[in-house]
C-alpha cells in the first residue's frame, strides 16, 4: 500500500487507462497489451510480474513512447501527473520527459551503458540533454559534475569522484547497476521504471539493490514501476503487485500477499514454481504449455487452456477483474455470479499436488544412488594470469585464484549442488571437472582415472562420458545449424555405431520438446526451449556425468522449475550424476542430494542438503539461505535483516585470515588472522564439513548476530 504521508499531491503519478498495444508483423498483428489499466500512486512501488511474453516490458517501453517501429498504441491513454496524456505531447516535449520525469533502469547494466564513454561523460550527456528544462541540466560544468558525483555517492559507490572518471567495464556487475540507478536519480524523477533491474545479478547483489531501491523511495519519494519475472523478488520489494498474463492484468494484490495468499490460479502456479523452504526436496510445479499469442482481444479466459481449475465457463466468456480482499482478480472463481461453480477456492497446493501425481512412474524406474564414487577432486587449484613481470621481477602480479584448493567426492547417481556468488569460482571448478580448463595443481579422478593426465585418446573417450550444459544456450549452440543436426552431431564426432544412437525424436522427447522443433534454428527457440536443447545435446551420448552451469539462468519461474524437474527425472531414470552449479541456494536444494557452498575459490561448507539447509554451519551459507523469499515472513524489515554487505573482494587481493571475514556478521578478532580449514562440524562425523572457527556455534545458533547499520553497508569503502 502506498505510504500517504510522503506526498501531499493527490491522485496517481502515472495513470494507465485501457491501454492496448499491438505489434504488426508482415501480415499478422499481435496484441502485446490488451486493455491494461493501472495506477501508480505517489511514492508507491508497483510490481509487474508474469512469464516472458506477457507484455511486461512492452508496458515499460510504451510509457516512455519507445516502442519499436512496428509497435503502436491502438487504444487507451497514459497520463503523467502534470503532463496529461503522454501520447499528446510533442516529440520534443516527450524527450524532455524521458530521464527527467520518468527514468529507467534496464536489466543488464553491462550492455545498457556505453562501453566507450566514461560513466561521468554519460551522466553529463544526460544532464545536458535537459539543459533547457531543468535545474541540474543548466548549471556550469562543475555543478553538473557535483550533482552526478552526489548521486553516485548516494547509491553507495566507494569514492564516487574517482568512479566518475571510470569506464563501465571497470566496475563489477553490482556496482554497474548502481551506476545505472544513479543515472536514473540525476533529475529526481517522479517515476522510475525498473525493467528486470535485478535479474542479471546474483542473490546477494539483488538483495543489496532491492535494499537501495527501497531506501531511495523513502528519501526521494519516487514512485517505482518494478517489472520482474521473479515472484519472490517482487514480494520482497513491492507495495502492490499486478500480475500480467497474455497482455492483460489478471490480478492486483498487495505485495506481502503475493506469496502468502495469491488468488488467481496463474499467480498460484507461478508461486508453486518458486523454490522455498517448504518445497525443499520436492519437485517444483511447472505450468504446462506456454503463453498464447493474442491477435484479438480475449473472448475467453486466456489462461484457461493451462489452468487446472478451469471449467466450461472459462472457455466461453472472458472474466473481468473482480474485487476480492484487498485486491482484484480476473477469474470466474471470484465472480459473484459464477463463483458457486467451484466447490472450493483454487490454491497453490493444487499445482504442487498435480506435479507429484503427474509422475507416478518415477519411483518405479528409479535407479538407486550408489556409494561408489564417480568423481574425486583433490586439492584442486586453478589460477589465471599472474606470474613474474618479464623484465622487472619486483612487479610480479599475483595470479587470480579462481579455484584455490577444493576437494570433494561425488558418488554415482548423486546430484551435487555447487553454490556461491559470481566470482566464487564455481564455474571454473565445473569447467575443470569436465577438462575444459587445465588445473594449476591437484587431481581430478573420474571413474578411477586421473583426468588431468590423460592422453589425447583417453580425453576423447572421457568427453563422451562427461558433458557440460552451458550457461547461455543461445551462445553455446550454433546459430546456423538446425536443432536436429546439432543434437546428432555428438554421434558423428564420436563415430557411434547406429545401434547406440538415438533418433532426434527420442532425444527431443527426453527433454519434453516437440519433434517439430528438429528443423528450427536456435534463434527461433524460447529461452526454456533452447536450454532443453542444450541439455538434450549434452545427454545424447548418455554420459555418466553432467556439469550443469546455471541451468535456470534467465528463465522465468515456470521454465526454471521444469528444467530442474527434468534434471532430477533424468537422474532417476538414467542414473545420471549431476554437478549443479547455481548462485541460487534455494533452487539447488530442491533437487541436490549434497550441497557444496563456495566462497572465493574455496569450499566453505559441504554436507547433505537436509543438514546444510536445516543447520547451516557457515555464516555465508546462513546468509544465502536467508535471502530466499519466504512466504511465511511478510514484514519487509524482517526480510532484509540478514543482508550481506559488500561483494566478493578483488580476486587478486584476497583478505587475510578467513576470506569471508570482512562481510561476516559474526566476525571476531581471530577471523582476520587465521584462515579456518574445512573440517567436520561434529567431531567424528565427516558428512557435514564447514570452514569456520565458530562452525559449531553458528550451527547451534548460539552466536548473537552483530548487525551492521545499513549506512555502513552502503557507504563505506572498507568492505570492498
Amino acid at each position: 500500500m502506498p505510504e500517504p504521508s510522503l506526498s501531499p499531491m493527490p491522485g496517481p503519478v502515472l495513470a494507465i487507462d485501457n491501454l492496448t498495444v499491438a505489434y504488426r508483423a508482415a501480415s499478422s498483428r499481435r496484441l502485446a497489451l490488451d486493455n491494461v489499466s493501472l495506477a501508480l500512486q505517489p511514492s508507491e512501488i508497483l510490481g509487474i510480474v508474469g512469464e516472458s511474453g506477457c507484455g511486461k516490458s512492452t508496458l515499460g517501453m510504451t510509457i516512455l513512447r519507445l516502442l519499436p517501429a512496428n509497435g503502436h498504441v491502438t487504444a487507451g491513454t497514459i497520463s503523467l501527473q502534470g503532463h496529461g496524456d503522454l501520447a499528446q505531447l510533442s516529440r520534443e516535449k516527450m524527450r524532455s520527459v524521458r530521464g527527467r520525469e520518468i527514468a529507467v533502469i534496464f536489466q543488464d547494466p553491462t550492455t545498457s551503458l556505453n562501453p566507450r564513454l566514461s560513466i561521468g561523460t554519460q551522466m553529463l550527456q544526460v544532464q545536458r540533454a535537459h539543459a533547457a528544462d531543468a535545474a541540474p541540466g543548466s548549471g556550469s560544468a562543475k555543478t553538473l559534475r557535483d550533482n552526478a558525483v552526489g548521486k553516485l555517492t548516494e547509491v553507495g559507490l566507494p569514492n564516487a569522484a574517482r568512479a566518475f572518471e571510470r569506464y563501465p567495464h571497470e566496475f563489477s556487475g553490482g556496482m554497474r547497476q548502481r551506476v545505472m540507478i544513479a543515472m536514473a536519480l540525476l533529475f529526481e524523477p517522479k517515476v522510475i521504471i525498473a525493467d528486470e533491474a535485478t535479474s542479471a545479478l546474483d542473490v546477494t547483489l539483488e538483495a543489496q539493490v532491492l535494499e537501495l531501491l527501497l531506501r531511495l523511495r523513502e528519501t526521494h519519494g519516487t514512485s517505482l514501476l518494478f517489472i520482474s519475472h521473479d515472484l519472490g523478488v517482487v514480494s520482497q520489494l513491492c507495495d502492490r503487485v499486478a500480475v500480467m498474463y497474455a497482455g492483460r492484468v489478471v490480478e492486483e494484490i498487495p505485495g506481502e500477499a503475493v506469496l502468502a495468499t495469491p488468488r488467481h490460479p496463474y499467480t498460484q502456479a507461478l508461486q508453486a514454481a518458486v523454490p522455498n523452504r517448504r518445497s525443499r526436496g520436492q519437485r517444483l510445479a511447472a505450468i504446462g504449455g506456454s503463453v498464447p499469442d493474442m491477435t484479438e482481444p480475449a473472448q475467453a479466459c486466456s489462461f484457461a487452456p493451462r489452468c487446472i481449475n478451469a471449467m466450461a465457463i472459462c472457455a466461453e466468456s472472458a472474466p473481468e477483474l473482480y474485487p476480492y480482499d484487498s485486491g482484484s482478480v480476473r477469474c470466474f472463481v471470484y465472480s459473484p455470479s459464477a463463483g458457486e461453480q467451484w466447490s472450493q477456492l483454487p490454491s497453490t497446493e493444487d499445482w504442487r499436488r498435480r506435479e507429484v501425481e503427474a509422475v507416478p512412474s518415477r519411483s518405479v524406474t528409479q535407479v538407486e544412488p550408489s556409494d561408489q564414487p564417480l568423481l574425486e577432486v583433490r586439492e584442486l587449484m586453478v589460477h589465471f594470469g599472474g606470474g613474474g613481470h618479464r623484465w622487472r621481477p619486483g612487479r610480479a602480479r599475483p595470479p587470480v585464484r579462481a579455484v584455490d584448493g577444493v576437494s570433494l567426492s561425488l558418488s554415482r547417481s548423486h546430484i551435487l549442488g555447487i553454490v556461491g556468488e559470481s566470482g566464487s569460482g564455481k564455474t571454473t571448478l565445473g569447467e575443470a571437472v569436465v577438462k575444459l580448463l587445465s588445473p594449476t595443481s591437484g587431481s581430478i579422478m573420474f571413474a578411477g582415472r586421473d583426468v588431468t593426465h590423460m592422453s589425447a585418446r583417453e580425453t576423447f573417450e572421457f568427453r563422451r562420458r562427461a558433458q557440460m550444459i552451458f550457461q547461455n544456450p543461445y551462445s553455446s549452440l550454433s546459430p546456423r545449424m538446425q536443432v536436429g543436426s546439432q543434437l546428432t552431431e555428438p554421434y558423428k564426432i564420436h563415430k557411434l555405431p547406429q545401434a547406440q544412437r538415438r533418433s532426434v525424436e527420442e532425444l527431443l522427447a527426453a527433454v519434453d520438446l516437440h519433434s517439430a522443433l528438429r528443423s528450427a534454428y536456435p534463434g527461433q527457440l524460447s529461452g526454456g526451449q533452447a536450454r532443453r536443447v542444450g541439455i538434450a545435446r549434452a545427454l545424447a551420448l548418455e554420459p555418466d556425468l553432467v556439469v550443469a552451469d546455471e541451468p535456470t539462468a534467465g528463465l522465468d519461474a515456470s521454465a526454471a522449475a521444469s528444467t530442474m524437474n527434468l534434471l532430477t527425472d533424468l537422474r532417476a531414470r538414467m542414473g545420471l550424476t549431476v554437478v549443479l552449479i547455481s548462485h541460487n541456494l534455494s533452487l539447488v536444494t530442491t533437487s541436490a542430494d549434497e550441497v557444496c557452498v563456495m566462497y572465493f575459490g574455496q569450499v566453505v561448507e559441504h554436507g547433505d542438503t537436509a543438514t546444510v539447509t536445516a543447520n547451516p554451519a557457515h555464516p555465508y551459507t546462513k546468509a544465502l539461505l536467508a535471502l530466499a523469499p519466504d512466504p511465511e515472513r511478510s514484514s519487509r524489515l524482517e526480510r532484509r535483516r540478514l543482508l550481506m554487505p559488500g561483494e566478493i573482494p578483488s580476486p587478486d587481493d584476497p583478505p587475510t585470515g578467513c576470506r569471508f571475514h570482512p562481510r561476516c556478521t559474526y566476525s571476531q578478532e581471530i577471523c582476520s588472522r587465521v584462515a579456518p580449514v574445512l573440517m567436520p562440524v561434529e567431531d567424528g562425523a565427516d558428512a557435514h564439513l564447514a570452514a569456520c572457527h565458530f562452525a559449531k556455534e553458528v550451527r547451534a545458533g548460539m552466536l548473537p548476530e552483530e548487525l551492521r547499520p545499513a549506512a555502513s553497508q552502503l557507504g563505506s569503502t572498507s568492505a570492498w
Binding site: R98, T111, S112, N114, P115, R116, Q125, H169, E170, F171
Partner: protein, 320 residues
C-alpha cells in the same frame, strides 16, 4: 598507452629489419644475373666478373645483406645500374608524387565513404539508402584501373574537362591539382563503396545496441545519439581497416600511375623490374613495406585509443 606505443614501435622496427635483410638477399634469390643484363648477351666472362665485383655481387650473401642494410640505414639505397645515379636522389621526386596521390586518395575515401554510410544508416530503407547501396555494389565490383580508364574516356576524351595524362609539377599547383582529381577518384571509388557499406552496417548494429536505447530513454537528442553516442562506437571497425587501406591504396597507385602516365614510385618500380635494376626495385619495395607497417601501426594505436577496455592493462589499480 605510451608503453603500448613503444612496444609496437619496437615490433615495427624488427619487421623493417627483417624486410631489409630479405631485400638484401633478393638479388641472389631471383633468377637472372644483373651483370649479364647490364652488359648484354655478348659480354666476356672477365667483364661480367668485373661488373659483378664492382656491384659487390661476388661477396658472400651475408656481406651483401649487411652492406645493403648498413647503407640503407644511412639513407643510401645504392646506385642505379642503368643511369648510375644514386637511387635515393632518383626516387625522391616520384616518391613525393606517389605520397601525395596516396594521401589525397585516402582522405577522399574517408571523407566521402564514411558520411555515405552514416547517411544510409540514418535513412535506412529510404531512397538515399537504396542509392548508396546500389552505387556501392557497382563500385565494389570495378577495380581502380577500370574506373581510371572510364574516367579518362569520360572527362578527358569525350568532354575535355580535365587533362588526361602526366602528373604536372608542384610549381604549378593548379595544374597539379587538376591532374590529381581523376587518379585519386579512381583509387578512392572502391573505398567509398567499401566504407559506406561497413559504416552503414556497423552504425545500424550500434543503433540497435541496448546503450543506445538507454540514451533514448534518458531523453538525449537524436542528433547527440547519432553522432556522439553511436558514431564513436560505429567507427571502430573503420579504424581497424585503415592499416589495410593504406596498403591497398599504395598498391593501387601502381595501376593508376601507369594508366595516367604519372611519374611515381609505381611507374619507376615497374620500369626497374623490367630492367632487373635491383637497387631501384629494392628501394621501392622497402618504401612500400614501410608505408604498410606505419599504416597498421597507426590503426592499432587508434583502435586502442578508441576502446577503453583495451587500455585497462596499463592501469595500476582495477576499480571494483
Amino acid at each position: 598507452m605510451l608503453l603500448y606505443v613503444a612496444k609496437r614501435l619496437g615490433l615495427a622496427a624488427v619487421v623493417i629489419v627483417v624486410i631489409m635483410a630479405l631485400l638484401g638477399a633478393l638479388v641472389n634469390l631471383v633468377p637472372g644475373d644483373p651483370a649479364r643484363i647490364i652488359l648484354g648477351p655478348h659480354a666476356t666472362p672477365q667483364l661480367i666478373a668485373e661488373v659483378r665485383r664492382s656491384m659487390g655481387l661476388d661477396n658472400p650473401i651475408y656481406v651483401q645483406v649487411w652492406d645493403f642494410m648498413w647503407q640503407a640505414v644511412h639513407g643510401n639505397l645504392g646506385t642505379d645500374f642503368i643511369s648510375k645515379a644514386s637511387v635515393s636522389s632518383e626516387i625522391g621526386a616520384p616518391l613525393v608524387n606517389t605520397l601525395i596521390l596516396s594521401v589525397v586518395s585516402l582522405v577522399l575515401s574517408v571523407v566521402v565513404g564514411v558520411p555515405m554510410g552514416i547517411l544510409a544508416a540514418v535513412r535506412r530503407g529510404g531512397i538515399v539508402d537504396a542509392l548508396v547501396r546500389g552505387t556501392s555494389v557497382v563500385l565494389l565490383s570495378a577495380p581502380s584501373y577500370v574506373i581510371g580508364l572510364l574516367l579518362l574516356l569520360a572527362f578527358a576524351i569525350d568532354v575535355h574537362l580535365l587533362p588526361a595524362l602526366g602528373s604536372g609539377s608542384l610549381s604549378n599547383l593548379g595544374g597539379y591539382a587538376e591532374r590529381l582529381i581523376m587518379p585519386s577518384v579512381a583509387l578512392a571509388a572502391f573505398w567509398w563503396a567499401y566504407l559506406a557499406r561497413l559504416v552503414r552496417s556497423s552504425m545500424l548494429e550500434v543503433l540497435s545496441d541496448p546503450f543506445v536505447r538507454t540514451s533514448r530513454a534518458y531523453g538525449l537528442k537524436e542528433r547527440v545519439i547519432r553522432y556522439r553516442v553511436a558514431l564513436k562506437n560505429a567507427l571502430v571497425p573503420v579504424t581497424a581497416l585503415t592499416g589495410l587501406m593504406v596498403g591497398y591504396i599504395l598498391a593501387g597507385t601502381v595501376y593508376v600511375e601507369v594508366i595516367f602516365e604519372r611519374t611515381g614510385l609505381g611507374n619507376l618500380a615497374i620500369a626497374a623490374i623490367g630492367n632487373r635494376d635491383w637497387p631501384v626495385v629494392r628501394a621501392a619495395v622497402l618504401i612500400y613495406a614501410a608505408a604498410f607497417i606505419v599504416g597498421n601501426l597507426l590503426a592499432d594505436v587508434a583502435y586502442r585509443f578508441l576502446d577503453p577496455r583495451l587500455r585497462l592493462e596499463e592501469r595500476a589499480e582495477v576499480f571494483i
